[in-house]
Symmetry: C3
Subunit: 380 residues, 3 copies
């Protein structure tokens, strides 16, 4: 870390939280091409899909305040620098230079990269820019689009592409949340239905998969593959019907999901429901992902709720960084700050021992992810 | 304020919170006619529509404790005075005298008055009693009832009445939450359906509008008008099906709502969902309204959640005071106390600067409301 | 209490919370027969119905940490003892000996025992082991199964069995949450439908009642009986569809429920919705039950949310202890710790007086339960 995030706490717990190398188990590429201030301000509003209104500013939010407070020092500026000064300073660097600064400041050893969004750094570039290892997470809806364009039987093509790509990847990811949500039948469709649905979809051009039969087919292929399956849950942009992404709608699917790890991402405002599922199913995991960055000063309260019903071996860390490299750093900085605030409180109240707190930090920061994704070098 | 609400905090932030004149952007009239203790105790239970049970007391609640703590000093009594002594002291004043004491103690410069409930002080009286400015908010379901009684075409009558009343009003309000909730189709109905529905409703007497076609018609007329449209969301009395007032059911409506500001009121227990919508749509705002008063000692925790995903230029203040003038005051007193508790914590933890905190107080206390309702004198 | 739970707080409030004898208004029997460590670890995971995965441990959870912290001293071990040492020490006692230690350490005067689960201590045994009074709560679905096996008309048999058993019981309990949840029609079915449904069910063997007609019949018989009716709400094992146990689905049922007290149990993650219902209906009550134990270090945050909209005369205490006697004790220990943390904060902030806080402790700890169940000796 570029500076202590734990204030004046010189305890072993604070030290450990500041030093532990993270596995960022769900992240996208950062920008590599230049852009204007409007792009930046829109990129720090997740939910809105339109340009911000004239009267508004992306800086006037918890995330905006967190950038001015925690990213400013990485660029050599004081805490709480004003938006204009931040923007001017940021503009003195290329996006690649910013990436090198912020990604390294995150102190992440392994990035698990969802490559489903183009136009940003790829897996190799993320590794080079950060100085860490990077691994691919294959987006199922992208595999489906590739299968739609492939010759021959859709199901065979999907299976072949998935297995080929997954051979060098650590997991899969679905954005079912953005394609109708979790409500409704999520059982495996019969082959005949898959063939018919694929035929219809190919006739329509085979872009932006919304067909529920094919979405369900993809999920069950991922279960069969056995590598961890990540699901976007809750908070995201307004294209998703947030109330249909309550993870409790996944109950029937989870009851039939076998042993493949299923990782619920972001989870706001359903983090307590997600924690329940992590307790209820041996193969269910969760992280706070995107939500931690966007909650800024309120992230500790959210992180505390992640630590309610979820067993401690089922909680992971991710930033969901995408676009501005600030987000790849802020996820880590706010998680370190938040977990410290929460666990310091548990220890001070006598509820937890400091030794236990340090062990739980390790589990969430990297050991749980290392176990299910088989990443991370021994001894780290 | 009649006394410092910030305890021993002598900071610029505490001073500013104590002094800032509020725009109470959603309020009703206070009582002017005398009533007994039973009326009072029932009035401080929002959700129950029946008389309180014999074994119960309206005072044994967070709101009751807040009245005894924060309203007592306004009447010259000590903090935490017992219910009987509070009631006896209160009984020495007329309701108009109580209104003058409590409304002035709220330090509100502008009251935005939903005139949809009769039998209480009207806009002019609220202004006179408080010494502040008062502006009307027109309730759409009342306009509908007026249109039902008007001669000729319902839609034309509704339009004419709405435009006439809105000429001197600052916004509109809908209680769709109490008339079936937000679930289901909220698109604009075709004229022929409106005419048919109006004819049926007029035949049935034209009272208590529950027809979804006419409710939808009213909403879209309000959008067309362009003045801010307030929607009751969440916590209210048990006539509403609380689970059907989850504001996420408004997603499709909001996606089509254009630029007319839409203000989500009260929001408990959906304040996090409402905050998401305020981030997702340039025209969506929220307040904590009624919930702040009813949460009493727990109001700071609620106010903190209002400050999660909602951009700071999209959050407003209101009391939703109705009936006992204590509520017009308590909304303000508990908001000042709560926002101080929350922002003091953000500043002390290093997450926010005090300068930023003071600016956010201004945005929520009055500047956001002044901008969208065009109220409040310059320089205040 | 075996040791102070209030840390260094020597106030009257802390003293009172430490000393007050509780009415545990919803509990099951504790184990009497020996078992291995796997049984124990599975028993401290509520939601999972399968054996814990090899990589997991029931100890790595808030409940597991709370056992190591708070139960260890009852067995003469230091706080935060490691799982292996805890298990070894625990194994030196029989389950009956553990029950005597933990039940007495809970300082409960009255246990209200749901006898719907076999294979654990019964009412009489709980009384003997704890040295307190024990009273039965009759599970309606068990009455239904008894009526299914009885000769003659089902409805008459149900009524006869319920009245006979209820003569010596203090209330009834339904697990409708586990039998399809609260969504849908909950009105009283006509006699002809009951007879038909009973006939069908008897033909299928009359076990595990899932028929909605018969479930509804049972609920309305319990309302007619007039003794408090407990409903499992929210958190439980994964056999229940958690999203169908949102208590807001009970609104129509509650609107027709008359004066019979209805007690919402556990409530996580719907404790705020349950609090609203307790304010909205004179006959609705709630507790935090099971959730308090499972939240461990996070229980204070949960208990604080229970104290939002619910009137203070409508909140109860329970442990929902079942199986390991640790749970009968931990419910009490964590509730005392949590209510102290929350109310100490209310008092320190000036929101509540200490006198009020002590009175609210009494209401929740025993007076509310004593009033509705007619238990507890005068003067306690």
């Amino acid at each position: 870390m570029t500076e202590p995030v734990m204030g004046s706490d010189s305890s072993a717990l604070a030290h450990h939280i500041g030093e532990v190398a993270l596995v960022d188990q769900h992240v996208h590429g950062c920008w590599l091409n230049a852009g204007d201030r409007q792009r930046f301000e829109n990129a720090i509003n997740e939910a809105n899909t339109e340009p911000l209104a004239d009267f508004d500013s992306g800086f006037d939010s918890q995330l905006g305040f967190a950038i001015r407070n925690r990213c400013a020092p990485v660029l050599g500026l004081p805490h709480h620098v004003d938006p204009q000064a931040y923007w001017e300073r940021r503009s003195q660097f290329s996006e690649a230079e910013l990436a090198r600064l912020f990604l390294r400041a995150a102190a992440v050893s392994d990035w698990l990269v969802d490559t489903g969004i183009d136009g940003v750094a790829d897996v190799t570039q993320l590794s080079q820019l950060s100085g860490g290892r990077a691994h691919e997470v294959v987006r199922l809806e992208q595999v489906a689009e590739q299968a739609a364009r492939a010759p021959g039987d859709y199901a065979s093509a999907f299976d072949e592409i998935l297995r080929r790509r997954a051979a060098t990847a650590v997991g899969t990811k679905s954005i079912l949340a953005y394609r109708g949500g979790f409500d409704g039948d999520l059982t495996e469709p019969p082959a005949s239905q898959v063939a018919e649905a694929a035929s219809r979809w190919r006739d329509r051009g085979g872009t932006r998969l919304c067909d529920r039969v094919l979405l369900r087919f993809g999920l069950h292929q991922a279960l069969r593959l056995g590598k961890p399956l990540q699901l976007h849950v809750g908070f995201g942009d307004r294209d998703c019907d947030l109330h249909k992404t309550n993870p409790l709608y996944l109950l029937d699917f989870l009851r039939q999901s076998g042993e493949t790890p299923i990782v619920l991402l972001h989870c706001y405002p359903y983090e307590r429901e997600a924690g329940y599922l992590a307790q209820a199913f041996n193969n269910v995991y969760l992280d706070g992902g995107l939500s931690v960055s966007y909650l800024g000063a309120r992230a500790p309260a959210f992180i505390a709720r992640l630590l309610e019903l979820a067993p401690f071996r089922k909680i992971l860390y991710s930033s969901d960084g995408f676009g501005p490299a600030e987000l790849h750093f802020l996820g880590a900085a706010l998680w370190r700050n938040g977990i410290h605030r929460v666990l310091r409180n548990f220890v001070n109240s006598g509820d937890w021992s400091e030794t236990d707190a340090i062990r739980v930090v390790d589990l969430i920061a990297r050991r749980n992810a290392a176990r299910i994704y088989h990443v991370g070098a021994a001894g780290e």
